[in-house]
């Protein structure tokens, strides 16, 4: 496994007394997709949310261990969480476009981060939408409300929005589970395309999806990391019997 600048070190996440994520050390290699799989409640979403400190919003959540991104300990008090989050895009299970126009959804982040030039913003909007494979569908109605889009379009818009601030890392929390099959395959193609530029971590319930798009797979069970390896190995020759049972669909 190649060395990387994005990794966790003995990471544990507590909700009050409950330890939802237990002592997990994981590497996320650049230009690759890592899939987090495991039965519901196994802590994979909690783990994902701690990578960009989304758990800060939950007052009783506590973190032990370290998360390193480009040599920076993200939970260090000196770390500026707002700057940190610019480097890490996130997309959720349910599409959550802003109640704004399609154009504004994409331009909002870059504008806030200091890009004022209209032409440059237009370029960012176009390139982000193109990367999210949405440009052709919406280029004639950029001024319309984002909520007028279909669910699949909204989700790709959310991906485009995440890309608009040039993140190095993209966190995806079951991004296709609420979508129809056509939209799902579009999103999957997109992920494969995007990994050329950034590291992607994806939580998924869908084994086929993990097998199709990821380079590495981590299997979580009850908050512990049971197995982590190249996806091909996990799906063909897992070391752990439980992993074998889970991916073959015998439980979970």
């Amino acid at each position: 496994m190649q060395t990387t600048s994005f990794r966790t070190e003995h990471l544990s996440v507590f909700y009050g007394q409950y330890e939802a994520v237990k002592n997990i050390s994981l590497n996320f290699p650049e230009q690759s997709v890592t899939a987090l799989i495991g039965p519901s409640g196994c802590g994979k979403s909690t783990f994902l949310r701690s990578l960009n400190r989304m758990n800060d919003e939950i007052s009783q959540a506590k973190i032990k261990g370290r998360i390193w991104i480009e040599g920076e300990d993200i939970n260090d008090p000196a770390t500026d969480v707002i700057q940190l989050r610019q480097k890490i895009g996130m997309v959720w299970q349910k599409p959550n476009p802003f109640y704004k126009s399609i154009y504004e959804n994409i331009a909002f982040g870059p504008k806030y981060h200091g890009i004022k030039d209209k032409k440059q913003l237009d370029e960012i909007v176009e390139s982000s939408l193109r990367k999210a494979a949405l440009w052709d569908e919406v280029k004639d109605r950029l001024k319309q409300s984002a909520l007028s889009l279909s669910g699949g379009q909204q989700q790709r818009l959310c991906i485009a929005r995440a890309l608009s601030v040039q993140p190095r890392i993209l966190l995806l929390d079951e991004p296709a589970s609420a979508l129809d099959p056509v939209s799902t395959s579009k999103v999957e193609e997109l992920i494969v395309e995007l990994k050329k530029e950034l590291s992607i971590v994806i939580v998924t319930h869908n084994m086929q999806q993990a097998a199709r798009i990821s380079d590495y797979t981590a299997y979580f069970y009850l908050g512990t990391l049971m197995e982590h390896n190249e996806t091909e190995i996990i799906f063909t020759n897992p070391e752990n019997a439980m992993t074998q049972e889970y991916i073959s669909g015998r439980f979970g």
Binding site: Y112, G114, Q120
Partner: protein
Amino acid sequence: MKAMDERPVQVGSARSARFKKHHAEDLAGRSYTFICVALLIVIIISIIYFVASKGLATFFRDGVSLGDFLFGTTWDPEGNQGEPMYGVLPFIFGSFATSLLAALIASPLSICASLFMTEIVPGWGKKLLQPVIELLAGIPSVVYGFIGLTVVVPFMRNVFPGQGIGIAAGALVLSVMILPTITSVASDALSSLPRGLKESSFALGATRWQTISRVILPTVLPSILTGVVLGMARAFGEALAVQMVIGNAPHIPRSLFESASTLTSVITLDMGNTVMGSTHSNALWSMALALMFMTFIFVLIVRLLERRHRI
């Protein structure tokens, strides 16, 4: 893709400029909202302080005894019959009598209305009554007073002995005014009941009324009582509508159809005719203090009921 190559540099340089801006922005936002909240607290503390300091002056500076004030039955602040007397028992009685009676009239009606909206005809019942209740809540109290004066008082005069004014007229007007309060609290409670509760009762072969009276009402009783107390609090503090129909005589009436007064009605009428700092004026402030004290009691009861409800 050409723009792509340039952007990281620009975003990077923009980032350091943003560093201070987003912290400053957050600080400003947090301060602004906090100041607003702090202002609320300053307001309430100053209301309590000023009303209490004025209201207590009656006893500490003017030497009126608390017992004479609370239990005295003669209100003669100008001393028309010799010594000035500051007995406010008639007004306390009037306030309690009107608000209790109003709650007594309004509660059954409100409970029926909320049952109608949630249990009897949940669909159009709500569509019909919801706006009715909201409009009743929206009618200004002086308009209620005006209608009380032109409809309720003449009606009372024709049907009952006396002049028509009095506690009965006041309570009737107030009951319509507090109907919306009780109804909305009660119907919120009813509509938040779990479905299973009702269905299991129906499944046992109970009629709708049996279900309502034995299962539903006992469950939501604390909430309904909360509504009743909130309604009473509103009735207790209402000034103008009551003042217009109650007659404003400063003694305990012998019947519900005889002129009387409440704490609020006396304050309304007398405050403009007293000199600030006089004992008469301070006695009015003491009545305001009593009103404030009752507000605390009402809020306390509501809190206790809510706590019970949660368990």
